[in-house]
């Protein structure tokens, strides 16, 4: 596969095999990413709330999740395979969840911290219990920051899920690896371009959700 060749991108192949090969890979990729972010969120929300109360734990939690985040994804997948988790979607999802934790937990804590103390005092003055303050005041006000975390985590996860195909996780990376094995650029480019579009689409749409959730920032004309 040296350089450009005639029939470099085979549109005919793409038309004929789209629903057979490409679409399932696309759906598989969506599934991997969605499940991973959902699990990561189910861990990070309670953990984030917990460490925002027990501050001493925040630094160690950041250290551990930051460490996980630094490990290159292919190495992490290799560790998971070597440790006996095996291959397939399961180790990929475990890996993707561990990459999401840092961003999600950090944004949950930052979001809760951003709630002004006066607001909480007012809520307490109105007779709300601690639990009510958490669910009716703190978390709703923290939501835009949490969504910002979900956005970053989702984009990261979509990107790393591509690599997960190496340990048989499926998804769009499978097209890339098959294309390299078969020296078939069409397959490589289809996988790469679709993964890129999925990541950018997730990024932009979640950014819009985030903006929609903080009208006060929009009014002030600031982005973040």
């Amino acid at each position: 596969m040296q350089g450009l060749q005639p029939r470099f991108f085979d549109w005919g192949w793409l038309r004929e095999n789209f629903f057979e090969d490409v679409w399932p890979a696309f759906v598989g990729h969506l599934y991997l990413s969605f499940v991973s972010v959902a699990i990561a969120l189910a861990i990070s929300l309670p953990l984030g709330v917990f460490v925002s109360r027990y501050r001493k734990l925040y630094t160690p939690v950041l250290f551990v999740t930051g460490f996980l985040f630094t490990i290159p994804s292919l190495a992490l997948f290799a560790f998971l395979v070597a440790s006996g988790v095996g291959i397939g979607p399961r180790p990929v999802i475990i890996g993707l969840v561990s990459y999401s934790l840092l961003v999600l937990i950090r944004n949950v804590v930052t979001g809760i911290d951003s709630v002004p103390p006066e607001t909480i005092d007012a809520a307490r003055g109105m007779g709300l219990t601690n639990r009510q303050i958490l669910f009716r005041v703190e978390l709703p006000l923290a939501l835009p920051v949490i969504v910002a975390g979900i956005r970053i985590a989702t984009v990261t996860v979509i990107g790393i899920a591509v690599i997960g195909a190496f340990i048989a996780g499926g998804g769009l990376g499978q097209l890339i690896f098959d294309g390299i094995d078969r020296s078939f650029p069409t397959l490589v480019l289809t996988g790469a371009v679709m993964a890129t579009l999925m990541a950018i689409f997730a990024d932009v749409s979640l950014l819009l959700v985030e903006r929609y959730m903080r009208p006060w920032a929009r009014r002030a004309g600031g982005a973040k």
Binding site: M1, T70, A75, A192
Partner: protein, 219 residues
């Protein structure tokens, strides 16, 4: 037993070559990324629209999956060193571009006015005011890029770029846990060393005045 296998893999004569390729790819890509993004950030520093475009392009670029970048470059350049180098450079650009643009824009206007009032030229303002104040933010961007590039250089193996990913692929395809772990541990160590190293750089490049101000703010 596994430890012996790992040590054996690390002592292979070819190991140093893989490590060296990995380091070369990472250093070159990060440097090229810096050489491309910094001038762009400098050029748009005084135009809000240009800076906004640079940051948005950077944000879009950050979303592109690393393996997708390598895969997009690969059909055009084939196996070898150049394809991964170009892909990794493209990967290094967005974080530096974003941080350099925002860092330079965040220098407060009053500070620049004061410098101008003291008779500094535009060049002096850039060199002695804007760049030093923005330096920590720019370095944070370079660190993000470098760590990302070191991690993604592992993927160069899939398009024949060599580097430490070769060991992971070899260990995986032969079902040899020791080789797999030797590769994974090397790559993980390299990424962590990069992170720690740049953390030090970042601190070293923070001007003394800024450090004092940060401490005063209780950070």
């Amino acid at each position: 037993m596994i430890v012996d296998g790992i040590i054996e893999t690390l002592q292979r004569p070819t190991y140093m070559g893989l490590l060296w390729t990995h380091i070369q790819l990472s250093v070159l890509a990060t440097l090229l990324g810096l050489l491309i993004s910094l001038p762009v950030a400098l050029a748009v520093r005084n135009t809000p629209l240009g800076a906004a475009i640079a940051v948005n392009v950077g944000n879009l670029g950050r979303a592109v999956p690393s393996l997708a970048l390598l895969a997009i470059v690969f059909p055009f350049l084939g196996f070898g060193f150049t394809a991964p180098l170009i892909a990794l450079t493209a990967l290094a650009i967005p974080p530096i571009l974003i941080n350099a643009s925002t860092g330079l824009r965040e220098v407060r206007n009053e500070v620049i006015d004061a410098a101008r009032g003291m008779g500094l030229s535009e060049g002096q303002i850039l060199r002695r005011i804007q760049l030093p104040i923005a330096a920590p933010v720019i370095f944070a961007g370079v660190r993000t890029s470098a760590v990302q590039v070191v991690a993604s250089a592992t993927l160069a193996t899939f398009i024949g770029g060599g580097a430490l990913g070769d060991l992971i692929v070899e260990g995986f395809s032969r079902g040899d846990t020791a080789i797999l772990l030797a590769g994974a541990l090397s790559v993980a160590a390299l990424a962590i060393i990069t992170e720690v190293l740049f953390d030090g750089f970042e601190r070293a490049f923070t001007p003394k005045g800024l450090k004092i101000a940060q401490q005063r703010r209780g950070r």
